[in-house]
Symmetry: C2
Subunit: 338 residues, 2 copies
């Protein structure tokens, strides 16, 4: 029997500066009793939390429409079909979708993806075999075109995207250097993920000290940069770029609260004849099948590993999201729904 | 009869901040009396002054080796052969080369280019049918891939490169907006070169006012940006970029004296999924023949025009160069040698 109500979290107000708990509101709503043709009712088991959501909470002109006030917070989800009026979906099927911060949701079948949760855990389809993994794959292969012997630097190296970037580049024969915040993350990046080195940017009080540490970790300079952070971290990497360096610009999380993020070393883009490409992986649907199939094989074969930080229950989502934005998580941040 | 001595200008000291007259020294040297095999002795008639020379005067790590102290200042030249031990060159031939700030010079024949100074004036081979023209051609066609209907913005629009960029893009059907310093330059850009609009950046006291003027001139945003200036001018253009904009990063002349040039609107590179490519046209020798042949045809057919600012005599070169760096010239800055 399907329960009569479920809980969801809506955007209650837009952040002024940092995200706060009162930007969110937990609501109880009625479960739909009748599905329209082709619709599927899903009980979510995992909710994905991702940095891009911060952008949607603001009204600033960006690559996506802002999230509407009082609507369910946007987000990718993984769960199980409970009712279906679509021929391709049956109760019990494992699916991923974009059902948002919600215990249940209804979507047309064509907006859901059926996944095999036997060889690979369901939650991994929100991370390494989902959007973050494909983001890493696209940046490393299509934009950076990583080759053996090159030095690749990735910021937010212990995160859902960065951890995959470094592992993919290592498999291609690159020397891989991570930048991460904190000793624990750096240890994880080197000892667990197998990066060649990691720079803990929190350890250095000034941009000059950060640059000195990065220079020591990249004695041959930087050929490829996968940027997730922006600000001072990006500025240090710019200063170490080699001639004909390539940059995949994936995120600038340090500026998500609207802080000014002036870059000083932009002259390097000219003097080193750099190619920089900003990108959003959802705009490249053509590469998803190949990327997902390669990533699934690498995960199944244990050639790449991943870590998850899991918050418990829908009500924990806002705090977990604020933690993600301040770098509290290790690897992929998820919410497990009960 | 060949004169026994000639004059040249050497780099006497490296600039600290702005270039000053005492960074240069005028010298009298002896004309070589005997050429080695394959060498050619040239009397220069025109000397090209270009912003890149500022970079060579410093010791800062850049794309090229710094200019040595007490060596002839580097630079492109156009002149006439006076003596030759190379079978392909005869006295009286018009040639271009890299003989520097000097009334005469000797070079191996393979470092000279024989040009036809009948249909196109000799000086044009240092500008629109030389390195500046090829720079414009490469940026517009190869990096920006300009297409009809797109809005292209070019800074230093009245300069040797910018003036060609805008005219080439107009021929391709772009809406072309220049950015230039001063009312006279802007009038030239619109009335003589045929740009659709021009923003006089010197007219605005704050970045906000500059951005408002640029926004008014680019009501449909910016699809293509050919950047020669950097700093606040680049920052304003970044704020107006459309999704999937492309940037050809050719110069950042506003920072040549080592001033900090922080860019604030770099988040647009991400949110608008921008492709940026820094470049130096001498690294793309493969495209020169096609570019030069197309440019020569456009000049001969009067489909593109050019303007020259000509200083008189070698001794005038340092002041003319300082004028170039502070934007005193209109179009291509040359020195005519006597």
């Amino acid at each position: 029997m399907i329960q009569a109500t479920y809980q969801r979290i809506v955007l209650a107000s837009r952040p002024r500066g940092s995200v706060t708990a009162d930007n969110f509101r937990l609501e109880t709503v009625s479960t739909p009793t009748l599905l329209e043709p082709q619709q599927v009712l899903v009980r979510n088991q995992f909710l994905s939390l991702d940095p891009y959501m911060r952008g949607r909470m603001s009204l600033v002109k960006s690559y996506a429409q802002p999230q509407e006030l009082n609507d369910t917070m946007i987000g990718a989800t993984a769960g199980v079909v409970v009712q279906s009026s679509h021929a391709d979906f049956n109760p019990g099927d494992s699916v991923t979708g974009m059902l948002g911060w919600s215990e249940m949701g209804v979507a047309p079948g064509e907006q859901l993806r059926k996944v095999d949760a036997r060889q690979i855990p369901l939650s991994a389809y929100l991370g390494i075999v989902g959007m973050p993994g494909v983001t890493a794959w696209y940046g490393v292969n299509q934009i950076l075109q990583a080759k053996a012997g090159q030095t690749l630097v990735v910021s937010a190296a212990s995160g859902a995207v960065g951890s995959v970037v470094g592992q993919l580049a290592r498999l291609l024969g690159c020397r891989v250097v991570g930048i991460a915040g904190g000793e624990q993350k750096c240890r994880y990046v080197v000892e667990q993920l197998g990066f060649d080195a990691c720079v803990d940017y929190k350890k250095y009080a000034t941009p000059e000290e950060l640059l000195a540490a990065l220079t020591a970790a990249t004695p041959a300079g930087i050929d490829l940069l996968f940027e997730n952070v922006g600000g001072n971290v990006l500025d240090a990497s710019l200063a170490q770029l080699n001639a004909f360096a390539r940059i995949a610009l994936c995120g600038m999380i340090s500026g998500y609260n609207g802080q000014p993020q002036p870059l000083k070393n932009t002259n390097r883009l000219l003097t080193m004849r750099v190619m920089l490409q900003g990108f959003i992986v959802t705009e490249h649907p053509d590469i998803w099948p190949q990327a997902l199939s390669e990533l699934a094989a690498l995960v199944a074969g244990k050639q790449v590993i991943y870590h998850e930080t899991i918050a418990d229950g829908l009500a924990a989502a806002p705090a977990a999201f604020m933690g993600l934005l301040s770098g509290q998580n290790l690897g992929k941040q998820l919410v497990k729904l009960n």
